[in-house]
Amino acid sequence: MSLIEVSSLSRTYVLGENKIHALSDISLMISEGEFVSIMGPSGSGKSTFMNIIGCLDKPTQGFYHLKGTDVGSLSRDELAVIRNKRIGFVFQGFNLLPRTSAIENVELPLLYNGVTSKQRREKALAALEIVGLTDRKDHHLNQLSGGQQQRLAIARAVVNDASIIMADEPTGNLDTKTSKEIMMLFEKLNSQGITIILVTHEADIAQYGRRLIRFLDGEIISDEKTGD
């Protein structure tokens, strides 16, 4: 069974009188363990697509099944549980909590699923180990570089044993060298079986994936394997 199954998915925004079709009639399947790059210019609908896949948004029409669950029929809180347990997010702007230590940022998702503080600490340390930030666990955000902050965000994404990581322009704010490090980290996670969905508009970043989907004007214009 595929991990993500999307059929005739549409997302329409209503802005005053105008209807904007951000996505129209998308059908797509992603299996467990894939590393998918999604490319497209601004306004092509790739972010909208990722928001729906990431259970942050709901489709206007069509179906989205995540591991067999019809996500479109779930309530706001049920979606929150899915995001908490199955999905990890990595954003361009890192989206970490300021004035909070590194380890507390990593622990954040665990606050919302009732694990004890001891387990929280253990899992957070394990996640920091994965991204190589163990020695920075008590640093505050303003003491960390951009690359370190993004690694922290990745630690937060994997701390709850998420099976999918959604990365929206994860290297957009980083220099080339750091970008490469971050992409290597994604490759490492993917090799451990985590499905990675990467949204980018940079071709050299997209080529880290093994499948490339191109979006334009809310539609998929190409979907190809890019095995290397």
Binding site: R76, F89, L108, P109, Y112, T116
Partner: protein, 409 residues
């Protein structure tokens, strides 16, 4: 439990981040709670002072005065016409169900002499039950007994002021003094009662058996009649019943036809004081209400700051929602934050309010009364203010769209 602790930790951190803002917001609650506590404390103290004074007079008291004579158009004042008898007193005690006890009293001024000291005071002839009715204890010696009344013995109880003025440091019990030249043995000294609300010294009295007073001191009384009766009702609730019962009984006993005026007066001594207490209660409620308004304003201040805080932290809320915070997690976080503000403010307010009421009590010469109930109410109220005024901002925060919130700059 564990996650509640974390919620509090998050709230504290958020409040610490904006120390000045948090402190000013808290100030609103501090002033509100302090005002409520101080107003309630002062009100309670005023009421306590009045009821203390009432208790020195004796509670649930009714006075039955004999009627007034008039000679040549000049009325001589209550008690001058001997219309109340010992039998009336017995009848009131036995036949009025709302009455607990009755003491007939004969009173008049008199000069008292002990050795080379003399003192002018009020002589009260009464039955032993007068002490019970006035709720008065003996400090030393023994009280009057029925036998003293039956035998008209020449014994007396001294009020504290009399004892101090005539005897100084000497123990008066067992000595013999002269009341209007008649020798009396002092059998006891009464405890000090202090002044009445009208400023009379209640300790400037000498109690003697009523029979002795009539026969040996005042002399000119008609046998079997008394000046007035002190009556104690069973409780404050039946005071009015007692007054009515006494009136009905005496009209019947004195054979007063309907429409004819009473030849006696029944006075409810507690009425005035009840009125004073009721007025104080109204004042307390009024002051409390005004103070509550400042608490309300403080609450609105919290709501305002929480709304600002929600807007400022839109991105943080977005992050929390994205990583799996449920509606209630977000709501709880902001409610706890508002509650923390108001509870800390409330605690400071309680301390401040108590200090304030102690100071006011000192200046206004009132007893200091800090009732635990008012503390509990103030604490509960400030926590309630936090929940109430924190809820709307929290509700607003919990409904944010995570996508928009994450993009918020």
């Amino acid at each position: 439990m564990n996650s509640t602790l974390v919620t509090f930790k998050i709230a504290f951190r958020a409040l610490r981040t904006n120390k000045m803002r948090s402190a000013l917001t808290m100030l609103g609650i501090v002033i509100g709670v302090a005002a409520v506590i101080a107003m309630l404390a002062i009100g309670t103290a005023a009421r306590q002072k009045i009821s203390d004074e009432i208790s020195t007079v004796g509670s649930n008291l009714i006075m039955v005065l004999a009627g007034a004579t008039s000679s040549g158009g000049a009325r001589m004042g209550a008690g001058s016409d001997p219309t109340i008898s010992f039998d009336d007193a017995e009848a009131i005690k036995n036949e009025c169900p709302a009455v607990l006890d009755v003491a007939p009293v004969q009173t008049g001024p008199g000069q008292v002499i002990y050795r080379n000291q003399n003192w002018s005071t009020m002589i009260l002839g009464a039955t032993p039950s007068i002490l019970n009715i006035r709720e008065w204890e003996i400090e030393s010696g023994r009280p009057l007994v029925d036998q003293d009344v039956r035998n008209s013995t020449k014994v007396c109880l001294l009020g504290k002021s009399v004892a101090e003025n005539l005897y100084g440091a000497i123990d008066p019990v067992g000595t013999i003094l002269r009341i209007k030249k008649v020798p009396f043995t002092v059998i006891g000294v009464l405890q000090a009662k202090g002044q009445t609300l009208t400023g009379q010294d209640q300790d400037d009295r000498i109690y003697v058996p009523i029979t002795t007073a009539q026969k040996k001191i005042f002399g000119r009384t008609i046998p079997g009649m008394v000046q007035f009766l002190m009556v104690k009702a069973n409780s404050v609730d039946v005071l009015d019943d007692a007054v009515q019962q006494i009136r009905d009984l005496l009209r019947q006993r004195h054979r007063i036809a309907p429409g004819q005026e009473n030849d006696f007066t029944v006075e409810n001594l507690t009425q005035m004081m009840d009125m004073a207490i009721r007025l104080t209660n109204i004042m307390t409620v009024l002051l409390g209400a005004i103070a509550s308004i400042s608490l309300l304003v403080g609450g609105i201040g919290i709501m305002n700051i929480m709304l600002v805080s929600v807007t400022e932290r839109t991105r943080e809320i977005g992050i929390r929602i994205a990583v799996g915070a449920k509606t209630w997690n977000i709501r709880l976080q902001f409610i706890v934050e508002a509650m923390t503000l108001s509870i800390i403010g409330g605690c400071i307010g309680i301390a401040l309010g108590q200090t304030g009421s102690v100071i006011v009590s000192k200046f206004a010469n009132l007893p200091v009364i800090i009732s635990p109930l008012s503390i509990i109410i103030a604490f509960g109220f400030s926590a309630g203010v936090g929940v109430f005024f924190g809820f709307y901002p929290a509700y607003k925060a919990s409904l944010l769209n995570p996508i928009d919130a994450l993009r918020y700059e």
